[in-house]
Symmetry: C2
Subunit: 626 residues, 2 copies
């Protein structure tokens, strides 16, 4: 697009309404323009048609009262919203994965809503189905897939995107056995074990033969798709121990069963422990239990940890040589868009030795912002080897809810989930399409697609656009982490406290906890941090007056083993205490806002934060905390 070429530099400050509604004039003017475009479009459709609602109607008592009622309800709504909504827009909010959302996405959503397209069917959304396919293609390219062969689309969120990946993996796993039933020649000489360990690409290649032979429907009828799940036959799904609850839901919904999920431990950095992953696979293989799939996480929801995807890919390569294979999905619902920080203006993956210079130049990284570590870099680079990736525009895409996405490396995979006879891509992927036939969901708002598409058009999916925006958050997170680590013991009401950050962020989440100096009770420390959370969240009433708003999480041995031990030890908690209490309560800050240092300097931000926490501690002490 011409505009894209003309505009060399995205200005982050021009992307949002802003913490002080700084860009409200632009927002309102553009919105009103879009509304006028719509209302005139209505008037210009058959200008010869008379009005359906006459002026006479509009002066009727019932008419006036109905408008009045409409306003009353909306005022009530606005009052509720302003009373209890969370001020995501402010740098004072460092909690969940939220911040301000892009003006262009909000405007695109609002304008498109009036046309009310439904992307379930092309006929109901000739415009926005095309935009969804374009947006999916954008993501495929950004993630390192070949956009001519990949397939991406928008879902209502990461949870549904992950379901779709499990759906694909499950159906795929059952295909070789189905082929054995329908056309045994094609897999002659292979044992069931071999059939259950066939690499993804090989299965899809075999399906090409099946399609050519006109046997696709028969094979599908003999697969899980037709027969239903059969008592764990397809094996185990390996998920990180720090598992998002959506995996438990996925195993339930997809008929796999929670008992067929296997947790893989995390290491001290809260990333999947590679050795344990390998041991788990070996143990299953020894028992002749197939691996249905391995789920890696890029940006865990609680710590922002990035699994070493490159090592998992290497591991799979190794196993494939030994006749073992599995589906590999990357849940990058949270972290996915961060890959843009590694792509140069031509969308090429930047060599590691040039990255720091680039980040300094484009994103203002000072020398002390020592990000990314090599293994995080390698992990992002290796994502393109996964069979599918979940990536949420409504998280690091700065787009309003609800917009998740899933991208599959090889679009032939769609044949496994559609009820159509064969896929209908012809020539390219901008063909009219009945999306509802290729996705888990049915009806879906075309406005969402417009919102994501528009974001990608204004903010390039590389270091000049999203990369820069996200890097500002990372820079804030690294600074915040460093300040927490450097904070000396401090006094409140004559008592002394310390604060300590969890691991160094893989990108933009910082977990941390306070303790009183000398306190060795973990449950008491947990109580302190819970009380701090309550003081900094909706649980002590609407947050509109709050000085700092955050979120929290609990890291327990069930989900994390001993990963948090080092951290609690730094806070003066013994191993014995940890093994007794088994859970540490931490405050959790996702730094999405690019405005952490914009009100003032970062140092002032930090001073303000510490003052706030001190005054909260003061309240807690005055309330009788001992």
């Amino acid at each position: 697009m011409e505009g894209e070429k003309l505009m060399k530099k995205v200005d982050i400050e021009a992307l949002f309404i802003g913490p002080k509604s700084e860009n409200q004039k632009f927002f309102k003017e553009t919105l009103n323009f879009m509304i006028d475009e719509h209302t005139h479009w209505r008037r210009d459709f058959h200008p010869d048609d008379k009005a359906a609602i006459s002026l006479h109607d509009q002066y009727r008592k019932d008419f006036v009262e109905t408008l009045q009622r409409t306003q009353e309800v909306l005022l009530e709504l606005s009052s509720k919203l302003r009373t209890s909504s969370i001020p995501w827009f402010s740098p004072r909010y460092l909690g969940h994965m939220n911040s301000d959302t892009l003006m262009v996405s909000n405007l695109a959503y609002m304008a498109t809503l009036l046309y009310n397209p439904n992307n379930c069917a092309y006929e109901a959304s000739p415009v926005t189905t095309a935009l969804e396919i374009e947006a999916g293609r954008d993501l495929a390219q950004m993630l390192g897939y070949d956009p001519e062969k990949a397939w991406g689309h928008i879902t209502s969120g990461g949870t549904v995107a992950n379901y779709e990946a499990v759906w694909v993996a499950r159906n795929l796993k059952s295909i070789p056995l189905a082929i054995k039933e329908v056309k045994p020649k094609l897999v002659a000489g292979l044992s069931d074990w071999q059939l259950l360990n066939m690499p993804v690409k090989k299965i899809l290649d075999l399906l090409d033969h099946i399609k050519a032979a006109g046997l696709m429907d028969q094979v599908r009828d003999h697969s899980v798709k037709g027969m239903g799940v059969n008592d764990g036959q397809l094996g185990k799904l390996l998920v990180p121990q720090s598992k998002h609850l959506c995996w438990i839901k996925a195993a339930d919904i997809l008929g796999i069963g929670k008992n067929n999920l296997v947790s893989v431990q995390v290491d001290d950095n809260f990333r999947t422990d590679l050795k344990h992953l390998k041991d788990t696979i070996d143990r299953l293989v020894k028992k002749k239990v197939p691996i249905l799939g391995v789920m890696s996480v890029v940006g865990s929801t609680e710590e922002g940890a990035v699994d070493k995807v490159h090592e998992v890919v290497k591991l799979r390569d190794k196993y494939e040589k030994e006749g073992i294979s599995f589906y590999l999905h990357v849940d990058a619902a949270y972290g996915g868009y961060s890959r843009t920080a590694f792509l140069d203006e031509d969308n090429k993956f930047i060599p590691y030795h040039r990255l720091k210079t680039k980040l300094t130049k484009e994103c203002g990284f000072e020398r002390k912002i020592d990000w990314p570590p090599r293994e995080v870099y390698n992990a992002f680079k290796a994502m393109s080897h996964a069979d599918s990736i979940t990536i949420d525009p409504h998280k690091m895409g700065y787009v309003p809810y609800a917009a998740g996405a899933v991208v599959m490396k090889d679009r032939r995979i769609l044949d496994l989930i559609t009820y159509f006879a064969a896929y209908i891509f012809e020539g390219g992927d901008n063909n009219p399409m009945l999306l509802g036939a290729y996705i888990l969901e049915g009806s879906k708002a075309g406005a969402t697609a417009a919102s994501v598409w528009a974001a990608h058009r204004v903010v390039p999916l590389n270091i000049t656009g999203y990369g820069k925006l996200i890097a500002k958050g990372i820079k804030g997170a690294i600074s915040f982490h460093r300040s927490l680590g450097a904070q000396k013991p401090f006094a409140v009401d004559g008592r002394r406290f310390i604060v300590m950050p969890l691991t160094k962020p893989d990108f933009n989440i910082v977990d941390f906890a306070f303790n009183e100096v000398g306190n060795t009770s973990l449950s008491k420390m947990n109580d302190l941090n819970q009380k701090l959370y309550e003081q900094c969240s909706y649980s002590s009433g609407p947050v509109y007056k709050d000085d700092f708003i955050t979120s929290k999480t609990s890291l327990d041995t069930d989900s994390y083993g001993n990963a948090p031990l080092k951290f609690v030890e730094k806070l003066g908690i013994t191993k014995y205490e940890w093994e007794k209490t088994k859970s540490v309560y931490v405050l959790r800050s996702c730094v999405l806002t690019p405005f952490l240092d914009r009100h003032s300097t970062y140092d002032e931000y930090w001073a303000n934060f510490m003052n706030t926490m001190k005054s909260k501690l003061d309240v807690i002490i005055k309330n009788g905390w001992k």
Copy 2:
């Protein structure tokens, strides 16, 4: 609410922007007011905080260029939208289940989007989670459930709502066998067959004992939830032959398998054939195959047919006496809101003998609008006996996409799908809730909840509100059906044509087809109607200039048996032809617009329609159709 009491009469004309943007002034003013409320809310959060975006920033070259780029993209979007969107708002559109959407819902959505709540978690949506629960409660009450015991929530659409119902039915069916494993005493003396035929309420009562005994987790681990689906053990899912494709997807996704779907034939009115349903159940029971569930449809997507739910309920009662039971779900995604036409101003179901008077008084039904037939009335009345109901606000709720809903009769059912230990409803249903733990989806827009909630506040869910609005569409559909039936053969270019409606609408869908007088070839007739569709849809280019826009469907023997035979015979097609071609192509008009007779009189609307169709036939003939 006071306003609700004050406003006795909803004025339909005051609910929409209108086909000629008649209410644009109100819409824009109210929207701008809501936006101002939001932007000032931002400014008033810590007024002492300095701006993050300075005036200096705003004059920067990059800043200006970024705003320019934002506008360029939005203008491109607006251009695309106006070029190819479908003018749902116009009475000239009688195609899919679309029309204008409520102003209050559009405004509520747009305003709430700026606060960007996520109803997955209460913490991210203190306002809109509460609104979602209220909206679910509204629907439960309207559908005849006890709102203190029922559970309703918003989904992304009817497809996902139906998945959730199948999910519940599937997990429920596996519970008695799980209890047998965990606490055999509780089901002592019952055979597996009896366990697989336990009525829904009895299973939930047993679960209360299990919960009290602290065995819930164990039972769940032994149910499908923990074990996964086991090769069809839970039986067959009975769906209408006219099945919506979502059932095929549901069977696949939920791991049941398409082969475990059983189609039940439809009768001449396209409603589930009760005798065939009974025969099917008998046949399965004889083979000792359990019935996982029966799906009834209130408002089939292609014909708007309403299954005789009351007869299905009666049938289940009969079977339960014989020791056979099954889950009953009603898919009222399309028809659900029509139940409001049967409820008086106190939300009581109106006696049949008073209904006509009510419809005449409230909805302007003339004597010739002979709706509803007794069996449609009974079906709507009996809906409250179903275990769950799908009902889509984005269809007959006149709310923008994407807003479906599912309502369950007995909220104890939630224990079957949550990963929590026990459900957390306490006292009432307005408690803060982590919705994500009780629904299929994860992240979801709180704006959708606001949109549905606001609609219900302005438009009462009875004959004074939605009932009146929907009845206007039904009135239009019945008139349209009668006109089609009364239309005499007519000439175009010296050739004579006829038109014939399919069955009389159960509520607001009219299917119809044209034929040339004397033509006895069904494939030729199909070709004619396909060409007419192409002339009246996006397939002949953007529809903005079109005089009439419609949709189509094909009724084939696979899905409908011989149900369409009488219809094609009336068009001069023999039974032999039907059996040869096996499919009839019809035009399909969903009459949601309340404005069919508002531009002018209905008679003028009809004359305009026929003139349009004649000119389309003329084009088709001139293009060489023989």
